[in-house]
Protein backbone atom coordinates (compact mmCIF):
# COMPACT_ATOMS: atom_id res chain seq x y z
CA UNK A 1 0.00 0.00 0.00
CA UNK A 2 1.34 3.39 -1.02
CA UNK A 3 -0.02 6.51 0.69
CA UNK A 4 0.17 10.11 -0.55
CA UNK A 5 -0.70 13.13 1.60
CA UNK A 6 -0.99 16.87 1.07
CA UNK A 7 1.67 18.45 3.32
CA UNK A 8 3.75 16.86 6.06
CA UNK A 9 3.31 13.31 7.32
CA UNK A 10 1.93 12.22 10.68
CA UNK A 11 4.74 9.71 11.15
CA UNK A 12 3.57 8.34 14.52
CA UNK A 13 0.09 7.63 13.19
CA UNK A 14 1.44 5.98 10.04
CA UNK A 15 4.05 3.79 11.75
CA UNK A 16 1.63 2.86 14.54
CA UNK A 17 -1.08 1.91 12.07
CA UNK A 18 1.33 -0.16 9.93
CA UNK A 19 2.48 -1.96 13.08
CA UNK A 20 -1.13 -2.65 14.12
CA UNK A 21 -2.05 -3.89 10.62
CA UNK A 22 0.73 -6.50 10.72
CA UNK A 23 0.37 -7.41 14.40
CA UNK A 24 -0.78 -10.95 13.62
CA UNK A 25 1.26 -11.52 10.43
CA UNK A 26 4.14 -13.26 12.20
CA UNK A 27 6.83 -10.98 10.79
CA UNK A 28 9.93 -11.04 12.98
CA UNK A 29 11.35 -7.74 11.73
CA UNK A 30 9.84 -4.28 11.09
CA UNK A 31 12.27 -1.62 9.87
CA UNK A 32 10.93 1.91 9.44
CA UNK A 33 12.71 4.76 7.66
CA UNK A 34 11.86 8.45 8.19
CA UNK A 35 12.97 11.27 5.91
CA UNK A 36 12.93 14.64 7.70
CA UNK A 37 13.41 18.07 6.10
CA UNK A 38 16.65 19.63 7.36
CA UNK A 39 17.06 23.37 7.85
CA UNK A 40 19.87 24.33 5.46
CA UNK A 41 20.67 26.95 2.82
CA UNK A 42 17.95 29.26 4.12
CA UNK A 43 15.02 27.10 3.06
CA UNK A 44 11.61 27.39 4.75
CA UNK A 45 10.27 24.18 3.33
CA UNK A 46 10.67 21.66 0.55
CA UNK A 47 7.92 21.14 -1.96
CA UNK A 48 7.11 18.06 -4.05
CA UNK A 49 5.43 17.19 -7.35
CA UNK A 50 4.51 13.55 -7.92
CA UNK A 51 3.45 11.67 -11.05
CA UNK A 52 1.23 9.09 -9.45
CA UNK A 53 0.59 6.56 -12.29
CA UNK A 54 4.30 5.76 -12.66
CA UNK A 55 5.00 6.00 -8.93
CA UNK A 56 2.28 3.41 -8.34
CA UNK A 57 3.87 1.05 -10.93
CA UNK A 58 7.31 1.57 -9.41
CA UNK A 59 5.91 0.74 -5.98
CA UNK A 60 3.96 -2.30 -7.25
CA UNK A 61 7.20 -3.67 -8.77
CA UNK A 62 8.90 -3.31 -5.39
CA UNK A 63 5.99 -5.01 -3.66
CA UNK A 64 6.51 -7.97 -6.02
CA UNK A 65 10.27 -8.02 -5.34
CA UNK A 66 9.63 -7.99 -1.58
CA UNK A 67 6.95 -10.68 -1.83
CA UNK A 68 9.45 -12.99 -3.57
CA UNK A 69 11.51 -12.78 -0.35
CA UNK A 70 8.51 -13.25 1.95
CA UNK A 71 8.52 -9.54 2.86
CA UNK A 72 6.34 -6.49 2.31
CA UNK A 73 7.27 -2.85 1.69
CA UNK A 74 5.27 0.24 2.58
CA UNK A 75 5.68 3.92 1.88
CA UNK A 76 4.03 7.29 2.35
CA UNK A 77 5.05 10.58 0.72
CA UNK A 78 4.01 14.20 0.79
CA UNK A 79 2.68 16.31 -2.08
CA UNK A 80 3.22 20.09 -1.95
CA UNK A 81 5.01 22.01 0.80
CA UNK A 82 6.60 20.40 3.87
CA UNK A 83 8.22 22.75 6.45
CA UNK A 84 11.70 22.15 7.89
CA UNK A 85 11.89 19.59 10.71
CA UNK A 86 8.76 17.83 9.42
CA UNK A 87 8.70 14.55 7.51
CA UNK A 88 7.95 14.17 3.81
CA UNK A 89 8.77 10.49 3.33
CA UNK A 90 8.43 7.34 5.35
CA UNK A 91 8.88 3.75 4.29
CA UNK A 92 9.15 0.39 5.99
CA UNK A 93 9.87 -3.26 5.40
CA UNK A 94 8.32 -6.19 7.24
CA UNK A 95 9.95 -9.58 6.87
CA UNK A 96 10.11 -12.90 8.68
CA UNK A 97 13.78 -12.38 9.63
CA UNK A 98 15.93 -9.27 10.05
CA UNK A 99 18.54 -9.86 7.32
CA UNK A 100 16.02 -9.63 4.47
CA UNK A 101 14.46 -6.48 5.96
CA UNK A 102 17.83 -4.77 6.49
CA UNK A 103 18.90 -5.43 2.91
CA UNK A 104 15.52 -4.53 1.40
CA UNK A 105 15.17 -1.20 3.20
CA UNK A 106 18.58 -0.17 1.83
CA UNK A 107 17.76 -1.17 -1.76
CA UNK A 108 14.20 0.17 -1.57
CA UNK A 109 15.17 3.63 -0.25
CA UNK A 110 18.12 3.99 -2.66
CA UNK A 111 16.03 3.03 -5.70
CA UNK A 112 13.31 5.37 -4.45
CA UNK A 113 15.81 8.25 -4.57
CA UNK A 114 16.92 7.28 -8.08
CA UNK A 115 13.72 6.25 -9.84
CA UNK A 116 10.54 7.36 -8.08
CA UNK A 117 8.91 10.08 -10.24
CA UNK A 118 9.00 12.83 -7.62
CA UNK A 119 10.40 16.34 -8.11
CA UNK A 120 11.75 18.41 -5.25
CA UNK A 121 11.81 22.19 -4.90
CA UNK A 122 13.41 24.43 -2.26
CA UNK A 123 10.99 27.01 -0.87
CA UNK A 124 12.84 30.26 -0.17
CA UNK A 125 11.00 33.56 0.46
CA UNK A 126 7.83 31.82 -0.68
CA UNK A 127 9.34 30.92 -4.08
CA UNK A 128 9.63 27.35 -5.38
CA UNK A 129 13.07 26.57 -6.87
CA UNK A 130 13.73 23.18 -8.54
CA UNK A 131 16.44 21.28 -6.61
CA UNK A 132 18.32 20.55 -9.82
CA UNK A 133 21.73 19.95 -8.22
CA UNK A 134 20.34 17.19 -5.95
CA UNK A 135 18.24 15.51 -8.64
CA UNK A 136 19.17 12.35 -10.54
CA UNK A 137 18.24 11.39 -14.11
CA UNK A 138 16.01 8.29 -14.05
CA UNK A 139 17.12 4.94 -15.53
CA UNK A 140 16.92 5.13 -19.33
CA UNK A 141 17.38 8.91 -19.52
CA UNK A 142 18.48 10.59 -22.73
CA UNK A 143 16.21 8.68 -25.11
CA UNK A 144 15.13 11.93 -26.79
CA UNK A 145 18.46 13.77 -26.35
Amino acid sequence: MMELYDGDLDTKEIFGRWLDEQSNSNYGAYIPFVGTIRAEDGIEALSFDIYEPILQKWFDDWQDRAKAKGAIVKMAHSIGDVPVHKSSYVSAVFSPKRRVALELIDEFVEDFKANAPIWKYDVIDGKRIYAEDRSTPMDGFGLLG
Partner: protein, 73 residues
Protein backbone atom coordinates in the same frame (compact mmCIF):
# COMPACT_ATOMS: atom_id res chain seq x y z
CA UNK B 1 -1.62 12.32 -32.98
CA UNK B 2 0.76 11.73 -30.07
CA UNK B 3 0.17 13.58 -26.82
CA UNK B 4 3.38 14.73 -25.12
CA UNK B 5 3.29 15.70 -21.44
CA UNK B 6 6.10 17.50 -19.60
CA UNK B 7 6.31 16.54 -15.95
CA UNK B 8 7.64 18.33 -12.86
CA UNK B 9 9.82 21.40 -13.28
CA UNK B 10 9.79 21.55 -17.10
CA UNK B 11 6.63 23.60 -16.67
CA UNK B 12 5.20 23.30 -20.20
CA UNK B 13 1.62 22.60 -21.24
CA UNK B 14 1.01 19.26 -23.02
CA UNK B 15 1.19 19.28 -26.81
CA UNK B 16 -0.16 17.02 -29.58
CA UNK B 17 2.07 16.20 -32.53
CA UNK B 18 2.28 13.86 -35.51
CA UNK B 19 5.05 11.28 -34.94
CA UNK B 20 5.76 7.65 -35.87
CA UNK B 21 8.71 7.12 -33.57
CA UNK B 22 10.86 8.73 -30.89
CA UNK B 23 13.19 10.30 -33.44
CA UNK B 24 10.25 12.29 -34.85
CA UNK B 25 9.36 13.42 -31.33
CA UNK B 26 12.95 14.33 -30.53
CA UNK B 27 13.31 16.35 -33.74
CA UNK B 28 10.08 18.21 -33.01
CA UNK B 29 10.94 18.98 -29.38
CA UNK B 30 14.46 20.17 -30.23
CA UNK B 31 12.96 23.11 -32.11
CA UNK B 32 11.99 24.65 -28.75
CA UNK B 33 15.06 25.73 -26.77
CA UNK B 34 13.13 25.79 -23.48
CA UNK B 35 12.38 22.06 -23.95
CA UNK B 36 15.50 20.85 -25.79
CA UNK B 37 17.79 21.87 -22.91
CA UNK B 38 16.05 19.24 -20.74
CA UNK B 39 16.04 16.32 -23.18
CA UNK B 40 19.45 14.72 -22.61
CA UNK B 41 18.63 14.34 -18.87
CA UNK B 42 15.03 13.18 -19.23
CA UNK B 43 13.56 9.69 -19.13
CA UNK B 44 10.49 8.79 -21.18
CA UNK B 45 7.27 6.89 -20.45
CA UNK B 46 4.85 5.58 -23.09
CA UNK B 47 1.27 5.31 -21.82
CA UNK B 48 2.64 5.44 -18.24
CA UNK B 49 5.22 2.66 -18.75
CA UNK B 50 8.90 3.60 -18.61
CA UNK B 51 10.67 2.81 -21.92
CA UNK B 52 14.34 2.32 -22.80
CA UNK B 53 14.25 1.22 -26.46
CA UNK B 54 14.94 4.10 -28.87
CA UNK B 55 13.15 2.14 -31.62
CA UNK B 56 9.86 1.95 -29.71
CA UNK B 57 7.09 2.53 -32.32
CA UNK B 58 4.32 5.05 -31.67
CA UNK B 59 0.69 4.90 -32.73
CA UNK B 60 -2.19 7.33 -32.89
CA UNK B 61 -3.51 8.14 -29.41
CA UNK B 62 -0.30 7.30 -27.54
CA UNK B 63 0.77 9.42 -24.58
CA UNK B 64 4.46 10.20 -24.02
CA UNK B 65 5.57 11.60 -20.67
CA UNK B 66 8.88 13.42 -20.35
CA UNK B 67 10.39 12.92 -16.88
CA UNK B 68 13.21 15.23 -15.76
CA UNK B 69 15.74 14.26 -13.01
CA UNK B 70 14.04 13.21 -9.76
CA UNK B 71 14.66 13.66 -6.06
CA UNK B 72 12.06 12.18 -3.74
CA UNK B 73 12.22 12.01 0.02
Amino acid sequence: MIRVEFLGPIGKEPIEIEADNLLDVSNYLKRDESISKWLDKCAVALNDMMISDPNTPLKDGDKLSILPPVCGG
